[in-house]
């Protein structure tokens, strides 16, 4: 073997050992995280790990044009791994020149290199010339990574060209780039240029690998494992807290996150799709989901090594300005709308992290916006956000003379929810749903005074201890009443029963009324006349209905059936729907920072020039109506719940059958 092989082996072993050592040092801190089982369903996980990255659907499905660039870069990168290995071997064992299909492969590699180079140029231009607002400016880190690539490019083609010039490669007809380089720049070459380029190439490759572990480009290493360890279910809830064993409640220090949360921070390449879709960021709040993940990674870098050696952490996780990594104002600004998670190409789970930190603030520190103390107290004492007397829960049903849920006799429990029971505006939706259910001849009943708050806001706000109690009580109540099917008016109750309560082993068939109504219309069980006086309707997607539970079509189909045409879309719709601003317990907080989320959403809706804004959530309705008032547009445009629109379109005979009037209070 030639001396070159020995030198290469020496350098490569050192470089790879260094890489492994740095990667180990960098990643071992993940082991500090709390246990979480992400090792089940291996087959499914392997499929997920192969499918999302290799098809690039992880990013292509997020409707960003730039994703195409990333996809081409990724695929060419994969091909170039093969090209690189061949080039390495070739340089080491010059006699072993690949034959057979190699000319075809060489062509493919050359194309791949050109595509990769083009996508790097496009990326550069995107960062330097036409930078979208949500992306970060070019960092030295990114510049170095890109220059490594250029070095590899030069090394590869220089080597190939010298081999052609030397006559080692006889047929260069399928190697347009190297062939052209050889004929233009290298007349009758010696071995030297080839050696120089090969070493340049090899050095670049090994250097790149070593550099990788120290940059944000750990993304290249961590994102594929993150696709393996992702939550196989959509992230619609937060993990339960163990009140018996755990020393600290919530997450107050970096090692109190789950291990997969820590892995998330390495998988992030700071692309900014989360930030681009965050309603808090869009309204100048101190929350920026990308920054949160970045700051967690930084915190882990600072504290991780100390914690591994059982020393005290030096950088607090939560604190203002330079006192901690994540500011409390950022933590409280989150509406838990889930847009960040929906858009993240590598399945980072932002919301559970934020809720984890809220839990720490609420349960360990009692530090939360002061408005919440009233909310927490009210929910705890009277199981509704306003602290109203529980008997008033049934007032809305007075015209119906009560309609109790009778175990064994009633089919559906109509779970009205707090807003639908107490809030005059939402009560109209409740009555509308009642009318629809009656018109369709459905057997339904309510829990009346026994109904309690579902606990959605309580959980999202981090008061897990109380949520735990509420969930257990509600589940017991449902089981005692032998409830199997639940219809909810509010998407928050719906998602809580469906996604949160199942953590307690409670399985109910939960339906949001929009799904039920859509089915009833399809089955022809709802006698409708078309309603003409709605004008142009736009539909606002509620986060907990759409993003959380994938119900996008049902309400649109219902609107189409009632109004005769599909509703118009607001610029942000479906998966990219823009929160009204009230989710995640934000309903009960003041919005003192930045501009108003609801105003922004209403402004966006107004661009479609609607006569009616339709939504399916009492929070959304409140926020949109307030936004309209803010824009002084409340006299020309109506905000209506889908149920109100449907109830208004019921045929008259069905109206007559129900003796109560919508306006009755």
């Amino acid at each position: 073997m030639s001396s070159r092989v020995w030198i290469f082996l020496g350098v490569a072993i050192v470089a790879i050992a260094f890489f492994l050592w740095s990667a180990y040092r960098r990643f071992r801190v993940i082991g500090l995280g709390q246990p979480e089982n992400r090792f089940d369903s291996r087959g499914k996980r392997i499929r997920s790990m192969l499918f999302y990255p290799f098809t690039q659907l992880c990013t292509l499905s997020r409707s960003y044009l730039f994703s195409i660039n990333h996809a081409f870069f990724f695929w060419s990168f994969l091909l170039l791994i093969a090209a690189n290995v061949i080039t390495l071997l070739w340089g080491l064992f010059p006699g072993m020149l690949p034959g057979g299909l190699y000319p075809v492969l060489a062509l493919i590699f050359e194309i791949a290199w050109v595509i990769a180079l083009l996508s790097i140029i496009i990326s550069l231009l995107r960062r330097l010339v036409f930078r979208p607002k949500y992306t970060l400016p070019m960092t030295p880190d990114a510049a170095i990574t890109m220059s490594f690539f250029v070095v590899l490019f030069v090394g590869y083609f220089g080597f190939q060209a010298s081999e052609i010039a030397r006559g080692v490669i006889k047929d260069s007809s399928l190697m347009p780039v190297s062939g052209w380089l050889a004929s233009t720049f290298m007349g009758n070459a010696t071995e030297t240029p080839g050696n120089v380029f090969w070493w340049l190439f090899t050095g670049g490759l090994l250097g790149f690998i070593d550099y990788l572990a120290y940059t944000k480009h750990t993304h290249i290493l961590a994102s594929i494992p993150n696709c393996y360890f992702r939550s196989l279910e959509k992230v619609t809830t937060q993990p339960r807290e163990d009140f018996e064993k755990s020393k600290t409640l919530g997450v107050g220090q970096i090692d109190q996150f789950r291990w997969n949360d820590l892995l998330d921070t390495f998988a992030c390449t700071e692309c900014g799709r989360c930030t681009d879709n965050c309603p808090a960021t869009a309204t100048d709040k101190p929350l920026n989901p990308r920054t949160v993940i970045h700051d967690l990674k930084y915190n882990l870098a600072i504290n991780g090594r100390l914690l591994l050696t059982k020393k005290e952490a030096v950088l607090p996780l939560i604190g203002n300005d330079h006192e901690g990594s994540v500011a409390p104002d950022a933590i409280w600004a989150c509406t838990t709308c889930g847009a960040c998670m929906e858009m993240c190409p590598v399945f980072i789970e932002h919301v559970p992290k934020i809720v984890g930190m809220r839990r720490y603030l609420v349960e360990e520190k009692s530090q939360f916006p002061e408005e919440l103390s009233k909310f927490f107290e009210n929910v705890k004492q009277r199981s509704n956000p306003w602290g109203l007397p529980p008997p008033e829960r049934v007032k809305w049903a007075m015209p119906l003379r009560g309609k109790p849920y009778l175990p064994g006799k009633t089919d559906y429990l109509f779970y009205v929810g707090c807003a639908g029971s107490f809030d005059t505006r939402a009560k109209q939706t409740t009555l509308a749903i009642a009318r629809i259910l009656d018109a369709a001849g459905i057997s339904w009943g309510i829990l009346g005074m026994q109904e309690k708050c579902c606990g959605d806001s309580v959980r999202r706000l981090g008061y897990e201890f109380n949520f735990d109690k509420m969930a257990r009580e509600n589940i017991k109540l449902f089981q005692d009443k032998k409830v199997t099917k639940i219809i909810t008016a509010c998407p928050h109750c719906y998602s809580t029963f469906k996604n949160d309560y199942c953590q307690y082993g409670a399985e109910f068939e939960v339906m949001h009324y929009s799904e039920l109504v859509s089915n009833l219309i399809k089955e022809g069980k709802l006698p409708l006349k078309q309603n003409a006086d709605l004008g142009k309707v736009v539909f606002h997607d509620s986060c907990y209905l759409g993003r959380y539970n994938g119900i996008y079509q049902a309400p649109r189909e219902v609107l189409a059936a009632v109004s005769g045409q599909a509703p118009a879309e607001i610029a942000h719709n479906h998966e990219k729907g823009f929160c009204c601003g009230a989710g995640g317990g934000r309903m009960w907080m003041e919005e003192n920072l930045g501009t108003r989320i609801n105003t922004k959403r209403v402004e966006e809706a107004l661009q479609e020039d609607p006569k009616t804004i339709c939504a399916c959530c009492p929070y959304c309705i409140t926020m949109l109506e307030d936004g309209l008032k803010e824009k002084k547009a409340e006299n020309n445009i109506k905000v209506l719940d889908l149920a109100e629109i449907v109830a208004g379109a019921l045929e008259n005979k069905d109206r007559a059958k129900n003796s109560f009037d919508l306006t009755e209070k």
């Binding site: 009233k374 909310f375 009210n378 109203l388 003041e590 409140t622 209070k665």
Partner: protein, 339 residues
């Protein structure tokens, strides 16, 4: 069995900077009735620094005796010196009934005292009486206000209750009354107290308008229907004429009709005045949550469907900008007639 050594009805006089809380005088009125039924005497407990002038006032409101603890450690309210001193006093003189106002301070103190004395405590009573066995009947709303629960403490002494402000009638003041002042020392020295008061930040002195609002008996509330800052004065005039305070809704703050300090609602201030006049207030639930426990609610709104009418005692269907000035001049007229 109850210890028969315990005799007498005591009322704790809550004071701040030498001024007593109104509820303390109300309690002397209620306490006098109880003492009469029990055939015992009524005593007041005054704790403070240079608070001796409250003794005469206590006699004027019906106390026969005042236990006075006058010491610099009582300059500011702190749980430890106050509760320990009361406990020492109770152990020495053994009253059978001890009443406190259900205020922030009163509730804090009562809990600590009752715990130390290992006796019962009924919080937030609205009615007090004596049964035929001589037991104190303490009545308070229970189960979210759905029932009234009457609670007795048959064995432990003293029988302790806190009473909500304005639940009892303010007794007639009679400055000619006199009584006996018994001075007692503080139970604890400054050095032994863990909590030091460094600075008192009083929102009242910082010019915040909200301070008067929580205690106001009459509140005139500005809603979006008031339309403009200029019209705000109309409501201020009515408030001045009636001796009340002006409050506002969230929407009025948003429209810059009224300042944030006046905001009543779920995340603003919660008020419980005797009279609440809602002007141009639609009555969104977030607002109702802050005022629905008011005594009499008068709604002035042109929209008959407005949810404020669901909670109002009286409704005036009309434009508040026309109704308010009429009310103001009528109130003034009445006042002139009276004087």
């Amino acid at each position: 069995m109850a210890d028969l050594d315990y005799k007498g009805v005591w009322v704790y006089i809550e004071q701040k900077n030498g001024t007593a809380a109104g509820v303390s005088w109300e309690l002397l009125g209620a306490g006098a009735e109880l003492a009469k039924k029990l055939g015992t005497e009524l005593a007041a407990v005054v704790i403070g620094n240079n608070a001796a002038q409250l003794c005469q006032e206590a006699f004027a409101y019906g106390a026969a005796k005042v236990y006075l603890l006058d010491d610099p450690v009582f300059q500011y309210y702190r749980t430890e010196p106050y509760y320990k001193s009361i406990v020492q006093l109770v152990n020495k003189y053994k009253p059978e009934v001890l009443l406190l106002g259900s205020t922030g301070v009163g509730r804090d103190l009562a809990g600590a005292v009752a715990t130390a004395l290992k006796t019962g405590l009924t919080e937030g009573c609205t009615k007090l009486d004596i049964d035929d066995k001589g037991l104190l009947l303490m009545t308070r709303p229970a189960y979210s206000g759905n029932i009234m629960a009457t609670i007795v403490s048959p064995n432990a002494r003293p029988q302790m209750a806190t009473v909500r402000p304005r639940a009892m009638v303010m007794p007639v003041k009679d400055a000619t009354r006199h009584g006996e002042i018994i001075r007692e020392p503080a139970a604890i020295r400054e050095e032994a107290i863990g909590v030091k008061v460094l600075e008192v930040i009083d929102s009242a002195q910082q010019g915040s308008g909200t301070v008067g609002l929580t205690n106001a008996e009459i509140i005139i509330c500005v809603g979006r229907g008031v339309q403009s800052k200029e019209n705000f004065q109309l409501l201020q005039d009515l408030a001045d004429a009636m001796g009340g305070k002006v409050a506002c809704t969230r929407a009025a703050v948003e429209d810059e009709i009224a300042p944030l300090d006046y905001w009543v609602g779920q995340s603003g201030i919660t008020v419980r005045p005797k009279v609440y006049i809602a002007c141009g207030v639609s009555g969104a639930i977030q607002h109702l949550a802050g005022m629905r426990d008011s005594g009499v609610i008068v709604a002035i709104n042109y929209d008959r469907q407005a949810p404020i009418y669901e909670v109002s005692t009286y409704g005036i269907e009309g434009d508040c900008l026309q109704v308010i000035p009429a009310m103001t001049s009528y109130v003034k007229e009445l006042k002139e007639k009276k004087s």
